[in-house]
């Protein structure tokens, strides 16, 4: 039985003018439908020629403010098509699901600020455009540092233009060390890198616990901030990829030895107690001003050049020093690693030519000059490294002493998976939940299972 006019008699007392007849209802429904469609088209406009180049970034302040200034400067130079910066949620730093779904849905940006170490992965996925065909093609990368060039390339083709880079170092709070009566001369970079055991000895003199058994002050937590698997693996001289065998090598003996040192360090102090002290700092959304290094409860930590700006903002009075990443044995060469970002053009970009002009400017000399000066990051535009005016004294330590010895993560088409597996193994080891050798062997097996189909993998440079 239907439910139209025959099923339900209309009330007799309604006037014809107010009657909700089927025709009126349908008219109304059609009107609402049209309004909904118009509304939807307003929400997701189809960008036409003449509209700005849309640039997505997951940056947060203070770097975001610098990038906004760069876009404004670019627009001030009256380009044929101006650019518009759109901030996307910070959770999207290496998780590019927003980019992937938008591109797939045909509403992706023209330019995307992409963590450079996953350019190869996204290029292999087919999300990014090959830039070879644009004016300048591969030669555009010639002015960038070789490792950044390699990271922006996949299968011999450029898929991104490198932007900034960075390096990791050991920061130490001189005030805290002096208050504890510790001689910190060994940490002075003029004396070269300290050994990990020397750092441990200094740190142990600062550890304090409260009545509840929790650490209230610590000298050093190996895994806080940029104390990553790569930091230690490189420090011990480990290699993470064997190009000839097309094999990831997290089980490299040096990497295992590095993990073992961290395992032992945490075991001696109580892995769970160390975790209780350090893990909140690794939670998403943890406010930087509450970081134990900034509040004066952690004397040393490994972090990057961007910390100079953060300390200037949150702890302007702190007397601190920056030195080389420690070494396993006296006399060893220190190693660090560099990361950084790039500008890539996703598939389906509405204005590819204008987008490429914008990318060239921001990733080129003018854009990187502003960014280096104002954000305390390092440029990948090689010539800028020689410009002394861009660097403060502390910043110069990164550009002149650390960048030349920096290594990089292998730019693999399974870069995100490799990072995740190394990190899971790293956590299991510093929590003393797994032995280094077993954890790294498991990581290797899982990553290699995905890498196999991309072999052989050629890494530029």
């Amino acid at each position: 039985m239907g439910f139209g006019s025959d099923a339900f008699p209309r009330p007799a007392d309604r006037t014809a003018g107010r009657r909700a007849s089927r025709r009126n209802v349908l008219r109304g429904a059609a009107g609402l439908g049209a309004a909904a469609i118009t509304g939807a088209r307003t929400i997701v406009p189809a960008r036409a020629q003449g509209e700005p180049v849309v640039f997505w970034t997951a940056m947060t302040d203070p770097d975001l403010a610098v990038m906004k200034g760069i876009v404004e400067t670019y627009n001030g130079e009256s380009p044929a098509v101006p650019a518009e910066l759109v901030q996307i949620p910070p959770a999207e730093v290496t998780d590019t699901s927003k980019l992937m779904t938008a591109v797939r849905g045909g509403i992706g940006p023209d330019v995307y600020f992409l963590d450079r170490f996953i350019v190869a992965q996204r290029a292999a996925d087919g999300v990014l455009q090959d830039l070879t065909a644009f004016p300048g093609g591969y030669t555009l990368l010639e002015n960038h540092l070789p490792f950044a060039r390699a990271e922006a390339t996949y299968d011999g083709k450029p898929y991104a233009l490198p932007h900034n880079t960075d390096a990791r170092a050991l920061y130490y709070n001189r005030g805290m060390l002096e208050a504890a009566g510790v001689d910190h001369a060994v940490l002075d970079p003029a004396n070269g890198p300290a050994t990990w055991d020397a750092v441990k000895e200094i740190a142990n003199g600062l550890n304090e616990t409260g009545p509840d058994g929790n650490y209230t002050t610590m000298g050093f937590v190996p895994w806080v901030n940029q104390g990553w698997h790569y930091t230690y693996g490189f420090s011990w001289g480990g290699e993470f990829f064997d190009a000839a065998a097309c094999e990831v090598t997290p089980d490299n003996p040096q990497v295992v030895a590095a993990f073992q040192w961290v395992y032992d360090y945490c075991q001696e102090l109580g892995a769970q107690q160390v975790s209780a002290f350090g893990s909140p700092t690794m939670q998403p959304g943890f406010p930087p001003q509450q970081h134990p290094f900034i509040t004066g409860n952690l004397a040393m930590q490994i972090t990057g050049d961007w910390m100079i700006n953060q300390l200037r903002t949150y702890a302007p009075e702190m007397d601190y020093g920056i030195t080389f990443i420690p070494v396993p044995n006296e006399g060893d060469e220190s190693a660090t690693w560099a990361g950084g970002w790039s500008l890539a053009m996703p598939q389906g970009a509405k204005q590819p030519e204008a987008a490429f002009e914008f990318m060239k400017w921001v990733a080129g000399e003018p854009g990187q000059r502003i960014y280096t000066k104002e954000s305390a990051h390092l440029p990948t535009w090689e010539a800028l490294l020689a410009d002394d005016a861009l660097f403060t004294e502390r910043h110069r330590f990164f550009s002149q002493d650390l960048l030349p010895i920096a290594k990089t993560r292998p730019p693999l088409p399974v870069g995100a998976k490799y990072w995740d597996e190394l990190t899971a193994a790293w956590q299991a080891v510093y929590l003393n939940e797994a032995e280094p050798e077993a954890a790294l062997a498991a990581a290797k097996e899982r990553v290699q299972a995905q890498l196999g189909r991309f072999c052989p993998v050629t890494i530029e440079g």
Binding site: G2, A276, E433
Partner: protein
């Protein structure tokens, strides 16, 4: 029957089955109108449920990044799944969480409902307070939860210490991280408690009066009247809880982050976050689709098991 029909009416021009579904002009119009009115739902169902449903079956048999061409690989994704230790880890974590969060949730919801049902003048205020955490979005609640369970400063751990219990590193200790999620789930128990409250209100009072005349105490009344009469509601809550528990995602994403998913040391790597990461981080859409289908089957089997098991303890007789 057929003979009688043939005798009483002229011979049908169409087969009986076709005639049964034959519609008159008005009925056809009404059907068209009816379909028109529900067309937004039909379009939504086809576009967002039926199409993805079929599409995921198709891509689960391919190697596909989400872009470009897909490569047919037969059952390889399903075979890989059996060998993938992280699949088993994520399944274990999810079942551990669901298996603990649901029964604890039933107890908490029942306690809340009993509290809400007390004949006190200020009970509307208590109901509002008890229900309040349930209306906070999971995203916001998770952030609050991080502050509450902070091992150094969180009020929850301070309470544990005050009671002479050991300090617990909820977010850094793989041994207890899943328990943190179970505790968090109880903040949403108000939703179930409201349904339980409605169930409690539906229990006929004469049952309690008869029990009282027979000398039954509070506990005896709860065990012999309240609990059996509430079993249909408990079953509903179990099924709903199963579906929600198995799909846990937001809380893990917010509390433990996604770099990598499942911190610490894969102890909170639940099924859906693992599926999400395969699809969107590792660009293995085909494998993610296979994971989705296996999850669907697991949920289906568990729901059937609960239904069959429920015939032993659910009491539907309200006479």
């Amino acid at each position: 029957m057929a003979t009688q029909t043939a005798a009483a009416y002229p011979a049908p021009r169409r087969p009986p089955t076709a005639r049964r579904f034959a519609l008159g002009r008005t009925e056809r119009r009404n059907l068209a109108l009816g379909l028109l009115f529900i067309s937004p739902w039909i379009v939504g169902f086809v576009a967002f449920l039926l199409y993805p449903f079929i599409y995921t079956i198709q891509i689960s048999f391919t190697q596909y990044s989400g872009f470009g061409d897909s490569l047919p690989i037969g059952w390889a994704n399903y075979q890989q799944l059996l060998r993938d230790d992280l699949f088993w880890t994520s399944l274990y974590n999810t079942l551990f969480y669901t298996g603990l969060a649901i029964p604890v949730g039933v107890v908490v919801a029942m306690a809340l409902a009993l509290a809400m049902a007390q004949p006190l003048p200020e009970v509307p205020v208590y109901r509002a307070i008890l229900y309040l955490p349930s209306i906070i979005p999971a995203f916001a609640l998770s952030f609050v939860f991080v502050a509450l369970l902070d091992p150094a400063r969180g009020i929850f751990n301070q309470a544990l210490l005050a009671l002479g219990l050991p300090n617990v590193n909820w977010f850094g200790d793989p041994g207890v991280s899943k328990l943190a999620l179970v505790i968090l789930a109880q903040f949403g128990a108000g939703q179930a408690a409201l349904i339980f409250l409605a169930g409690l209100k539906g229990i006929p009072q004469p049952l309690y009066e008869a029990a009282m005349l027979d000398g039954a105490g509070t506990w005896r009344k709860f065990l012999n009247i309240t609990l059996p009469m509430m079993t249909p509601v408990i079953l509903y809550d179990l099924i709903l809880g199963l579906s929600q528990g198995i799909q846990i995602f937001t809380q893990i994403f917010v509390i433990f982050g996604n770099d990598p998913p499942g911190a610490p040391a894969n102890s909170t790597l639940a099924y859906v976050p693992y599926l999400y990461n395969n699809g969107f981080r590792y660009s293995q859409m085909g494998y993610a689709a296979a994971l989705a289908w296996v999850l669907f089957l697991i949920t289906l089997v568990l729901a059937v098991v609960i239904f069959r098991w429920s015939s032993r303890w659910v009491h539907y007789d309200t006479d």
